[in-house]
């Protein structure tokens, strides 16, 4: 059992949990994730490590309510236990001194790009963070990320804060600007990562994306997480989750992600008893 020590509602439908997990905390590196089960009848879902503290033996996850399981998770309180948690899984982000790196995050991924930004800074990079959210209510950790990055650019789809538009707009300007960008790292919704990859493709700047296919075990046993990268099949949980965005078959990934839409909606309705369908 993994005890929840702290819960926070960071923004609309986005939650932070600090959890007791000494073993995971002692091994964690930037870019890795855990697979957890909320209850004995629950499904296994992957969530990225946002923070970890080996001394105190705790890890932090930040998640957005996307359906039944994340909704159920959000209802847990301090002192409650998470039934199962396996990790750290996946390959850590490759960190060296690249020069200047643009780190692009969308939605909940503000939380999970922070360890990457910190590690890149420690390795001597200049880091420009670009964060995009739908609307101002969904923004959190702005000050933290501003301090940790050399520069922070914010966008909202509806223009309620920062620049109006998508993260690809400032990224494009950056690429066309005077400063040379040596690498782009993107984490967030699949469509966003697809368009970032399309944006950087003409210039050929290496673009690393953190893929989020549906997973079951997270150990390389089921093949549920397979993605086509450069025409080869890769298992995101053990070969990834980070891949060269220019080589990923994005449409296939999105198709696989929507395999269970009907059942997920049904599960959400059963859980909330509202008869309402949920899609965020």
């Amino acid at each position: 059992m993994y005890k929840i020590l702290e819960t926070k509602n960071l923004a609309k439908s986005i939650y932070l949990f600090r959890i007791e997990a000494p073993l995971i905390a002692s091994k964690a590196r930037a870019g890795q994730f855990v697979v957890l089960r909320v209850s004995p009848k629950g499904e296994r879902i992957p969530l990225t490590l946002a923070e970890w503290d080996p001394q105190r033996g705790t890890i932090t996850i930040v998640f957005m309510i996307a359906g039944a399981t994340t909704c159920q998770l959000s209802k847990l309180k301090e002192g409650d236990n998470i039934t199962d948690m396996l990790g750290p899984l996946g390959n850590p982000t490759e960190i060296t001194n690249y020069g200047t790196v643009a780190c692009v995050a969308g939605g909940f991924a503000i939380a999970v790009i922070r360890p990457v930004v910190k590690a890149l800074k420690e390795a001597g990079n200049r880091v420009i963070s670009i964060v995009g959210v739908r609307t101002r209510d969904l923004l959190f950790w702005e000050e933290e990320l501003r301090k940790e990055s050399d520069e922070l650019i914010l966008t909202t789809d509806d223009g309620s804060y920062g620049r109006k538009g998508m993260v690809t707009d400032p990224l494009k300007e950056l690429l066309e600007g005077p400063e040379s960008i040596n690498r782009v790292i993107a984490i967030g919704p699949t469509v966003m990562m697809k368009f970032i990859s399309l944006t950087t493709k003409p210039s050929g700047i290496k673009t690393i994306t953190s893929l989020n296919p549906i997973m079951v075990d997270g150990t390389g046993m089921c093949g549920c997480c397979r993605v086509s990268v450069g025409g080869e099949t890769k298992f995101a949980c053990v070969d990834g989750p980070e891949f060269d965005g220019h080589l990923v078959d994005w449409d296939e990934l999105m198709s696989r992600q929507s395999t269970y839409l009907d059942q997920e909606n049904h599960a959400y309705k059963c859980l909330t008893g509202t008869g309402e369908e949920h899609r965020s």
């Binding site: 499904e43 046993m221 696989r256 395999t259």
Partner: protein
Amino acid sequence: MNKPKINRVEMPRQKADKRKGNFNEVAQGYTHEMAKTEASRCLQCKKYPCIKGCPVNIDIPGFIKAIRDDDLPGAVGVLKKDNILPGICGRVCPQETQCEELCVFNKSGNAIAIGRLERFVADWELKNKDKVKPVAVSRSTGKKVAVVGSGPASLTIAADLARMGHDVTLFEALHTTGGVLIYGIPDFRLPSEIVGEEVDNIKALGVKVELNYLIGTIESVDELLGRFDAVFLGTGAGLPIFMNLPGENLSGVYSANEFLTRVNLMQAYRFPEYHTPVKVGKQVAVIGGGNVAMDAARSALRLGADKVYVVYRRSEAEMPARREEVENAYEEGIEFIFLANPTRFLGDEKKVLKAIECIRMELGEPDSSGRRRPLPVSGSEFTLDVDVAIVALGTNPNPLITSTTPDLKTTRWGTLVCDEDTGRTTCPGVWAGGDVVTGSATVISAMGAARRAAVDIDKYLKGDYIRPGQYWRESKGEEPAE
């Protein structure tokens, strides 16, 4: 030729039209009367040929005699001496090619139903725990052993080493113990409660279990060697093989491992009470001809598919699946398409599977496995409209451990190089057994390997074995069966 006076006693089964709508066990087990009748047929042969067919050498005439003499606690004792998982083996062992094949009555088609009797005794024990003496455990040796995985190989060695007085900890990556027994083999052949009960018996011997613990990632084998006196790897062959065909990653194409894990480990057949979904196609194609393919096909049928095909590239005679399970599948209405092989998966504009294209095959000259090699018949392509396809073409060992333990030598299929008699790997202090050494095989062969390794580890821990890593013979490293 030996001829029995009475024929082999049939075991009651759920009727086909009923069972294809539920996940309850198909085979219902003998009643006490049936077991006694069946046991009375055994000749108690002086040379007990049957025992040679059992990889763990159960005293078969011994436990059958105890059934006949109404001494069921005695029968449990005889079985448990050599097989800590009788309820599982009695259900899933391929008895017809093992113990029963060597029974003197086999030639007349009337072998003693050793597996069914074994199952009967195990099931009786579960209901009568208070009547059975607990297994004796030796005085503690103070030696610590790490056992990686919790499939049949690991469970067996954990029990053996615990009985020898060693301090055993099992490390399992998933959230439940049992390996393939719990995530692969469906409840209608092996109920998870049976696996759970037999695992509890092993825990009662003092074996500790660490779940959610992936060795190779959370802790390396070298790190384990720092805190344990010996390590056993029973990590199985869990990495699914794909064919690298166009369209293989379309939505709707599963590996058998994923499909069965969703249905069994995650209990997707009880969705939404259990939260993991599974896509139930109307038309389903399962590719392969082994036990795994049968299990996937019969699970798909039970989930409500209208039509389930099994596409196999050789003919019926070459199918590696157990005969009994193939017959069950026929009865339930599975349609077999022999001598055909997929060439590509076809999707709609949304990249969702809608059909598979197959090509007809014909059998050529025998290959290294002795079976005739299937060859495509050019121009014979045909399509099969399906919305779910399940690829059941076998598995290889997962490279997580070997890639982080340079001392462990592997074959070109990723299986561990091991001494066959002792299970010693090329890394001192590390033993292995089961599917991780042989590639996909059977429950009982994994258990047999584990028992041999237990004897060797015990010797090592007691100081008899002084040349760690120095003498081992390579296993043959044959190509794993499909």
